[in-house]
């Protein structure tokens, strides 16, 4: 069972702010087919991370294809993430509050490096809560983007939104 106490406790140990988050749930198994950035962009067939232009996409490791889209710079920074999501139709916004008719993403950074991206769910019974693919590990739901801030991911530093109309 994916959402077992054992798995939940492993995640809570790494992300203590999830303790007590009523929306926290493990919703899909661990996978290396995609990562958080790809998930935020609604992609589950590719791992998105900074790569040299001449190495896009890369297939060198088993069970993963990795890429860095739209010919953006080989840099894992918030600036480049904003550029990628701008290509996808997103615009920078103030916060992660749910807005009907929009989907939102949140970007995390520690020091000057981007570390993670989360996506707000915008349809169905879970709309308004957030989802994160945790590296090669599980896909989870969490109540707010701030609940997965930790030592490794650092803090939420930017939000973007895209109209669904």
């Amino acid at each position: 069972m994916i959402n077992s106490e054992l798995n939940r406790n492993k995640i809570i140990k790494a992300f203590p702010k999830l303790n007590g988050d009523k929306s926290f749930k493990i919703v899909d198994k661990a996978s290396s087919n995609y990562n958080c950035i790809a998930w935020a962009a609604n992609v589950t067939t590719c791992w998105w991370q900074s790569l040299a232009l001449d190495k896009r996409p890369t297939f060198g490791l088993d069970g993963v294809k990795y890429d860095w889209p739209f010919d953006v710079e080989d840099e894992f920074s918030i600036r480049v993430l904003v550029e990628i999501f701008t290509h996808l139709g997103y615009v920078v916004c103030e916060d992660g509050e749910y807005e009907d008719g929009f989907k939102k993403v949140a970007f995390y950074a520690k020091d000057i490096l981007a570390t993670h991206a989360a996506r707000q769910l915008s349809t169905g019974k879970n709309k308004g809560i957030w989802s994160s693919k945790l590296g090669t590990s599980f896909l989870i739901y969490h109540g707010t983007p701030y609940n997965i801030e930790n030592e490794r991911y650092g803090n939420v530093v930017a939000f973007m939104k895209k109209t669904m109309r």
Binding site: H116, G135, S137
Partner: protein
């Protein structure tokens, strides 16, 4: 009446007694050194040490990279590099580990052998781990 006193006799030389016990080789009970056994014990000790070291490296690597968003950071982690540095000695240990629990540890096999068992990156980690385990047990790892 004369008194008789029992004195020790004079001019008697007391010699040391030397006891010698002769045994032939068949009767010897000292353990013989079996160099074959010694080598086996040394190998066993090295294997235990290697397994222990490998297990610690995997634990530390997982703790440090389990939620990492960058593949580069996962495979450039110091503990992962030390696993790769074990080269061929790490292969059976990695096979056991991914057989027990499929994971991206399989990437260490890609790096050690310079080979990949999937060509399009679409297979899941579970699928490629099974492929590696089968290939190893079929004796094909050196030829993949």
């Amino acid at each position: 009446m004369p008194i008789i006193i029992d004195l020790p006799p004079q001019n008697i030389k007391v010699e040391n007694t030397k006891i010698e016990h002769y045994v032939n080789d068949e009767q010897l009970d000292t353990p013989k050194i079996d160099y074959g056994t010694l080598k086996l014990d040394k190998d066993l000790f090295e294997n235990i040490y290697l397994k222990d070291k490998f297990s610690s490296l995997v634990d530390l690597w997982e703790q440090n990279t389990a939620f990492e968003s960058s593949i580069s950071n996962i495979i450039e982690n110091d503990n992962f590099k030390k696993i790769v540095e074990l080269k061929n000695k790490a292969i059976p240990l990695i096979i056991d580990e991914i057989d027990r629990e499929p994971s991206v540890l399989v990437w260490a096999l890609n790096i050690i052998t310079g080979k990949s068992l999937s060509s399009n990156g679409r297979e899941t980690i579970e699928e490629v781990c099974k492929k590696w385990v089968r290939a190893y047990h079929n004796g094909r790892i050196q030829n993949v």
